[in-house]
Amino acid sequence: MLNVKEMLDELSASPYEEIEIKTPHTGVVQFVGLKPGDRVSGPGGKWHEKPGTLLANLTREKNKKPICAPQKGEVKDVRGELEGQFVEAGVPLMTIRHFLSKEEVIARILKKALHLFCAPERAKYYFVPEVDAKIKAGGEQSVKLKDGMEMFIVSRMKRETPLAYSGPEGIIYAVYFQQGDNVDGGQPLMGVCQESQLPLIQDVVNRVQGEWEERD
C-alpha cells in the first residue's frame, strides 16, 4: 500500500538527489577551485553536446582528463585533501546536490506506484476495438487489465499483429501515446496501477503540482 504522506515527507525532507562524483580510474587529482555552495551546470546545448561545468582534472600517464558535472546543482562538499594526490579508481571527489524539479518528483512517485507497459518495437499502436469502445464510453480508468488480455493492435509496414498485456492486474492510470502515431520501441504506452491506489496517486500528483517549491 502506498503511503502518500510518508512519501511526500521523505521527498520534502531532502528535495534533492546527491550525486557523488567518483574517479573513473586512477590518477592524480587537481581540483579547479570549486567550493561548497558553488553552482554547477550539467551538459547543455540542444543535443547535450556541451559538457557540464569542469569539476576537476585527473591525470594518469601524462594524460589529463576533465571530470565534468553530470547534472546541474550545488556543490555540497569537496575532498580538498586529495588535491595533488594519486588516487585509486572509484574514490569520491565531491558531492553535488541536484534539486528535484516538479517533473522529476512526479516521475519518481509514478515510478514507484505505476507499472509501465512499454512498446516492444517502433510501430503505430491502437487499442483493440472492445477496449477502445470502453475507453471512449467510460474513460481510461474503466478498463480493468489482466495478464494475457488482448490489448493492442500493432501496425507496422502494412502488417497488423495483436499485442497482449502482460504485468500486474490493475487499471489504466494514463495513456502516453496518440492512437495512430508512431511510437519508438521502449517508450511507455500506458501506466497501470492498482484500482485501490488510484485516488491516492492522483492526490500525490496534485499536491506536488500545487505545493512543490522548485529550487534552481
Binding site: E49, E61, K62, N63
Partner: protein, 755 residues
C-alpha cells in the same frame, strides 16, 4: 504636385547617399542635408515659380555633388551600394534589358529556391527590315529589393541544381546563357546534395558547356558566385565587388573569430582584398567594366540599362566570334566596338558542332592564362626550357605509343582473340569431319585430364596456411615512417571513450603500430601528412615536380609576407601543395597532396597552378591522378580573387582530364572545407574519406552566423557525407594502400596507360 514629387525624390536621394556613406562625416553630404532642410523650411512661403527654380537648383547641386562623392567612394562604400535594397536587381534587368522574358525557375516565393531566378528571354536584333528574336537563357541570383524570402541572393544547393539543369537545357537548345551574379555567398547547408557538392557539380558542367556563357558581376561572393560565373566573357558593373570572402568575414578571421570585428578593420580588409571592379580588371579576372551612374545604378537609370544591353550583346557576339569567326566586315565592326552599335550588326548565336568544341577549348585557355603572375616561380630558365621540351616529348611519345601504336596493337590482339575463339569452337566438336581429321575435338579430349594435373607445390600453397610456424601475423614492422608523436611517453584518450568504452592508448602503440587508430572503436587520430607520403605513396622513391613554384603575396596584403615566410620556415614547403609521380604497386601514378600544416592547407595561386600542372601531366602521361587532401581550410583569403579563381581553373583542368578518360580519385582526411571541396575536390566521381574526417562547405560557426541554425554535433562527419552521397566510401587508414591499388585497377576511364 510636380514640385512635391521632385522634393520627395531629392529626399530619397539624400537618404540613399547617407546609407552608402554610413556613419562617416562628409562635407558634401552635410551641405546637401542643410540645403534641403533650408529649402523645406522656406517652401511654404515661396511662390510656384520660385519653388520650381529652387528645386531645379537643388537638383543641379545634387547632381554635382553626387559626381564629387563618386570619387570618394571607398571599397566598403561599394559593398554597401551593392547590398542596398535600391540597387538594381535581376528582375529590373530582365524588364529593361531583354525584349521579352518568361520565368521558368518558379515564381517569387513559389520556387524551389526563390533566390535563384531563371528565365527564357529574347533579344530582338535587326537584319535589314527583318527583326530576329534571339533566345537566351538568363539566370542569376535575385535579391528582390530586400524581399525576405529571397535570402538576399544566398542560394541553397537545390537552387544551384535548378540553375544547372536549365544551363543544360540551353546547351541542348544551343542558345547562349547570360548569368547575373548578385550573391553574397552560397547558403551553407549540407542537406542533399550539399552546398559544396552542388557548386562543384555546377563548375564541372559549366567547364564543358558548349554554348556561349556571359556573366555579369554585381556582387560576387566567393563560391556562391562561382556556381554560375564560369563564363566565356566576364563583365562587371563598376560599383560591384567580386571577392573571396565578405569584408566582414575577412575581418572576423583577421581579428580572431571570437570578438566582433570593428568597422575600421572591416574597411581596411575591404581595401586589402582588392574587391572592386577596377582591381579585378587589373588582375585580369574580368574582361570589361560597365560604367554605372554616379553612386551606383538604381532601377530608374534607364540609360544604364541601354548600355548594359549593348554590352551583353557585344560580349555574346565576341564569345561567338572567338569560336566561329565572323565575316571580315563584321569582325572589323566588332573590333571597333566603341563606335558601332552591336544591335545593328547581326550575329547568329547558335553554334556549329565544330565551333562548340572550339568554344570550350578557348574557355579553358582563357582561365588557364589567369593568375599566372600571382605566385613565385623559382625555376631557372634552363629548367623551364627543359620542362617544356620534356612535355613536348611526352606528348609525342603519348601520341605514338598510346594513339597510333596502340590502335594497331588493339586490332592485332582482337584478330588473335577471334582466331583463338574459332579454334576453340572447333575443338568442341563443331568442326565435324575437319576436327576429326586434325585430331581435335572432344574425342581427342585432354581437357578434363589436364585440369586434374595440379602441380603438388601449388596444391600445398592453396590448401595450407601461409606461415603456420610464424605465429600470429605481426604488423609493427610494416610502417616505413613512424610519427614523431609516438616518441612521447604518455597515454591518450579516444574521444569516443564515453560512448564506446575505449581504453586509454599509450602513444608509442597508438602512433606506431596502430597507425593512429583506436583499437576499440576505430577512431582515427590525425596523423602528419608525411605518414601518408611515406607509408602510402612511397615518397622516398617518388619524383617530385614543380616544388619551385611557391606561394606569394599577389595583393601585397598587409602583414601576409611575414606569415607566409613563417609557414615556409615551419613546414619546409613552398606552398601547401606537393605534387609528385610515384608507383603504387608498380602502377605509375601522379599524386597531389594538400598539406594542412602550411597555412591550414589553403589553396592560392601557387597551389592552383601546381594542381593544374599535375593534372596536365597525368593527362599527357595517361596515368591515374590521386588528390590526397590531408586537410584544407578553403581558399587563401589573403590572395583575394587570385585564390578564388583557382576553383574554376583547376576544375576545368580536371574536367579535361576526366573526359579524356583518366582516373581522378580524391581522398579526404582530417578537415576539408569550403572552396576546394566546392570545386576540384567535390567534382570527382570517385571521392573517398579516411575515417574520422570532416567534410563540408562552411564550419559550424559560419553556419550559425549566417543561417541562424544550430548545427548538430556530427554534422560534418564523413559518415554524414557518405549517407548524403557526397563521397563514395570511407577507408581505414591502414587499408589505404590496398584500397588505392584496387581502385586503380577497377575504376576510371579507358585512357590509362595500363589499360
Amino acid at each position: 504636385m510636380d514640385i512635391d514629387k521632385r522634393t520627395k525624390e531629392l529626399a530619397a536621394r539624400l537618404t540613399y547617399i547617407r546609407d552608402i556613406f554610413g556613419p562617416r562625416e562628409n562635407a558634401s553630404v552635410a551641405l546637401l542635408r542643410t540645403r534641403l532642410e533650408e529649402f523645406l523650411a522656406q517652401a511654404p512661403q515661396l511662390g510656384m515659380r520660385e519653388l520650381s527654380r529652387q528645386v531645379g537648383r537643388l537638383e543641379e547641386l545634387f547632381g554635382l555633388l553626387e559626381g564629387k562623392l563618386e570619387g570618394e567612394l571607398s571599397p566598403m562604400d561599394r559593398v554597401r551600394i551593392v547590398r542596398h535594397p535600391q540597387r538594381i536587381c535581376l528582375k529590373d534587368i530582365l524588364e529593361n534589358v531583354y525584349d521579352n522574358y518568361t520565368e521558368i525557375g518558379g515564381q517569387d516565393e513559389w520556387s524551389i529556391d526563390p533566390g535563384m531566378l531563371i528565365a527564357r528571354a529574347t533579344i530582338a536584333r535587326r537584319m535589314g527590315k527583318k527583326t530576329v528574336h534571339q533566345p537566351v537563357m538568363v539566370l542569376g541570383q535575385e535579391k528582390g529589393h530586400g524581399q525576405e524570402f529571397r535570402n538576399g541572393g544566398s542560394i541553397k544547393p537545390w537552387g544551384n541544381a535548378n540553375a544547372l539543369y536549365y544551363m543544360r537545357v540551353a546547351e541542348w537548345e544551343n542558345i547562349p546563357i547570360h548569368t547575373y551574379v548578385f550573391t553574397p555567398g552560397a547558403y551553407p547547408v549540407e542537406d542533399y546534395p550539399g552546398a559544396a557538392q552542388q557548386i562543384a557539380k555546377n563548375l564541372y558542367v559549366m567547364a564543358g558547356l558548349s554554348v556561349p556563357i556571359v556573366s555579369v558581376f554585381s556582387e560576387g561572393g566567393s563560391g556562391g558566385a562561382e556556381a554560375i560565373a564560369l563564363a566565356d566573357r566576364r563583365l562587371m558593373l563598376s560599383h560591384g565587388y567580386y571577392s573571396v570572402i565578405s569584408p566582414e568575414g575577412a575581418a572576423a578571421i583577421e581579428g580572431g573569430l571570437k570578438a566582433k570585428a570593428s568597422p575600421e578593420l572591416i574597411e581596411k580588409c575591404a581595401e586589402r582584398l582588392r574587391i572592386t571592379a577596377r582591381d579585378n580588371l587589373e588582375l585580369g579576372f574580368i574582361d570589361r567594366v560597365i560604367q554605372e551612374p554616379p553612386l551606383g545604378a538604381r532601377p530608374e537609370h534607364y540609360e544604364f540599362f541601354r548600355q548594359l544591353r549593348s554590352e551583353v550583346i557585344r560580349a555574346t557576339d565576341e564569345a561567338v566570334h572567338s569560336a566561329e569567326g565572323l565575316g571580315p566586315l563584321r569582325a572589323l565592326a566588332l573590333r571597333q566596338r566603341r563606335h558601332a552599335d552591336p544591335q545593328e550588326i547581326f550575329v547568329r548565336w547558335s553554334l556549329s558542332d565544330k565551333a562548340r568544341r572550339t568554344l570550350v577549348r578557348k574557355r579553358y585557355a582563357k582561365f588557364r592564362a589567369m593568375s599566372r603572375s600571382a605566385f613565385r616561380d623559382n625555376r631557372s630558365l634552363g629548367t623551364r626550357l627543359a620542362t617544356a621540351v620534356a612535355r613536348m616529348l611526352w606528348q609525342a611519345h603519348s601520341l605514338l605509343r598510346h594513339d597510333l601504336l596502340a590502335r594497331y596493337q588493339r586490332r592485332l590482339s582482337r584478330l588473335v582473340e577471334q582466331l583463338e575463339a574459332e579454334v576453340r569452337a572447333l575443338r568442341y566438336g563443331l568442326g565435324g569431319p575437319l576436327a576429326r581429321l586434325l585430331g581435335l575435338g572432344e574425342a581427342a579430349g585432354g581437357g578434363g585430364a589436364r585440369r586434374m594435373a595440379v602441380p603438388p607445390e601449388a596444391l600445398e600453397r592453396l590448401t595450407s596456411l601461409s606461415c603456420p610456424e610464424a605465429g600470429a601475423c605481426r604488423l609493427e614492422e610494416q610502417w616505413v615512417y613512424v610519427s614523431p608523436k609516438s616518441r612521447q611517453d604518455r597515454t591518450l584518450t579516444c574521444p569516443n571513450a564515453a560512448t564506446h568504452g575505449c581504453q586509454d592508448l599509450w602513444a608509442p602503440d597508438l602512433f606506431g603500430e596502430f597507425a593512429g587508430v583506436c583499437s576499440t572503436c576505430g577512431h582515427h587520430f590525425p596523423m602528419e601528412f608525411q605518414w601518408y607520403l611515406y607509408n602510402v605513396f612511397d615518397f622516398a622513391k617518388a619524383l617530385e615536380f614543380n616544388a619551385e613554384l611557391e606561394s606569394a603575396n599577389p595583393l601585397n596584403y598587409e602583414g601576409f609576407d611575414l606569415k607566409l615566410e613563417e609557414a615556409k620556415r615551419a613546414t619546409g614547403l613552398g606552398s601547401s601543395c606537393i605534387t609528385f609521380e610515384t608507383r603504387l604497386d608498380g602502377l605509375k601514378t601522379v599524386v597531389a597532396v594538400l598539406a594542412s600544416p602550411f597555412r591550414g592547407g589553403t589553396v592560392g595561386a601557387a597551389e592552383g597552378e601546381k594542381l593544374i600542372r599535375a593534372v596536365e601531366r597525368a593527362r599527357i602521361k595517361r596515368t591515374p591522378l590521386i588528390l590526397y587532401s590531408h586537410g584544407t581550410a578553403g581558399i587563401r583569403i589573403q590572395e583575394g580573387t587570385c585564390g578564388v579563381i583557382q576553383m574554376p581553373r583547376v576544375t576545368m583542368a580536371v574536367r579535361r582530364y576526366i573526359s579524356a578518360g583518366g582516373l581522378y580519385l580524391v581522398l579526404y582526411d582530417t578537415n576539408s572545407y569550403a572552396g576546394p571541396v566546392a570545386s576540384f575536390l567535390g567534382c570527382s566521381p570517385y571521392q573517398f574519406a579516411v575515417r574520422s574526417s570532416n567534410i563540408g562547405f562552411a564550419g559550424p560557426g559560419v553556419i550559425r552566423e549566417t543561417t541562424g541554425m544550430e548545427v548538430p554535433p556530427r554534422y560534418h562527419k564523413s559518415f554524414s557525407a557518405l549517407s548524403r552521397g557526397h563521397i563514395q566510401g570511407i577507408w581505414d587508414r591502414r587499408d589505404i594502400k590496398k584500397n588505392l591499388n584496387q581502385a586503380l585497377l577497377t575504376m576510371g576511364g579507358g585512357n590509362l596507360y595500363y589499360r
